[in-house]
Amino acid sequence: MIYAQLLWSFFQIGLFSIGGGYASMPLIQHQVMDVHPWLTMTQFADIMTIAEMTPGPIAINAATFVGIRVAGIPGAVVATAGCVLPSCCIVMALAYVYYRYRGLDTVKGILAALRPAVVAMIASAGISLVILAFYGQRTLPKDLGGINYISVALFGVSLFVLRRFRVKPIYVMVGAGALGTLASLFI
């Protein structure tokens, strides 16, 4: 039963994440935290951090991580298979359609309308992560004073470095981790 739930959840993630990478993040969050009690917000943030540091697509990394926690190695395999299955069917079908009727206007129109929605969803999930980084919990606390100043500083510096110098994300994250750990040892 748990295998069927894993398969179905990650099938939906695979089916509805359009635009790759970060687009799957809000869907994963929805499935593993809201629909099923599989991960806490901290664990979800951890898997996003691990996924950024290891090779492979975010959705596949998350599928493996969630699957193995919920139902061991078979769970990981089932979740990964579920994640890949929609791609296999849809990509093949689209390739066929594409070669027959090049440049479908309706497909282009749908994709153009989906892109802004995807940006909005990533923004919403990103805000959850920012709140978690600053306050250690998913939603804003009533008392806004309990903010983690080291995290705020690291966030500010990271964002500046990313926007100004286009540094690779992996270096920013490892740098933030190293700098913050050193700072917390001395403060």
């Binding site: 939906q12 994440s17 635009g19 790759g20 990478g21 970060y22 799957s24 993040m25 809000p26 943030a45 951090t49 691990i50 290891t54 090779p55 492979g56 697509p57 959705a59 596949i60 493996t64 193995i68 990981a76 395999v77 990964t80 890949v84 929609p86 791609s87 296999c88 849809i90 990509v91 093949m92 689209l94 390739a95 206007d105 282009k108 129109g109 153009a112 309308a113 892109r115 802004p116 995807v118 909005a120 990533i122 923004a123 919403s124 920012v130 978690l132 980084a133 250690g136 995290s151 705020v152 690291l154 990271s158 990313l162 926007r163 690779k168 920013v172 994250m173 933030a176 700098l179 750990t181």
Partner: protein
Amino acid sequence: MKREKGVYGKLFISTLKLSAGTFGGGFVIVPLMREKFVTELRWIDEQEMLDLIAIAESSPGAIAVNASILVGYHVAGCLGALLAVLGTVLPPLVIISVISGFYGVVRDNAIVNTAMTCMLAGVAAVICDVVLTMGAGVLRERRLLYPAIMVLSFIAVRFLNVNIIAVILVCAAIGAADTVLRRHGGQIHRKAVRRP
């Protein structure tokens, strides 16, 4: 198409290596795949590869997985597609399985805990950077429809707790309706030509 000897093995090993060595997701792996399959192995010509990438990026799912399905299928049929997917999926599957094995033990360590919290600040910044770049792209659109979709979707997801999948389906329907309306208005002409 005549298949060269050992094409299955070469395809599997190529996708395995590409997946294991690529950090940063779809937009990083795609140029590397182009390098490997177009320039090095000469299995696919340049124009074909651009088409395949366009399909991979506009289909649901991970871009790296989609691209490897297309390359595998193009090179060696359905079995090729299957092998290419296996090659792409195995490295993250194995690496994350190993990491999650000692994740529980390591996560409770105070220093690891601090490092993860600090790295999260970095991850949050990376995601904000992505949102700023993509959001600016949407705001630059000539048509008001797209920024409107972005703002309304954000309100629906963030404040009204509307189901994400429902938002995606509604936006897809809006996109389809918009295309049909514009076609009737004569703003786009039927360009799709059926290939002989």
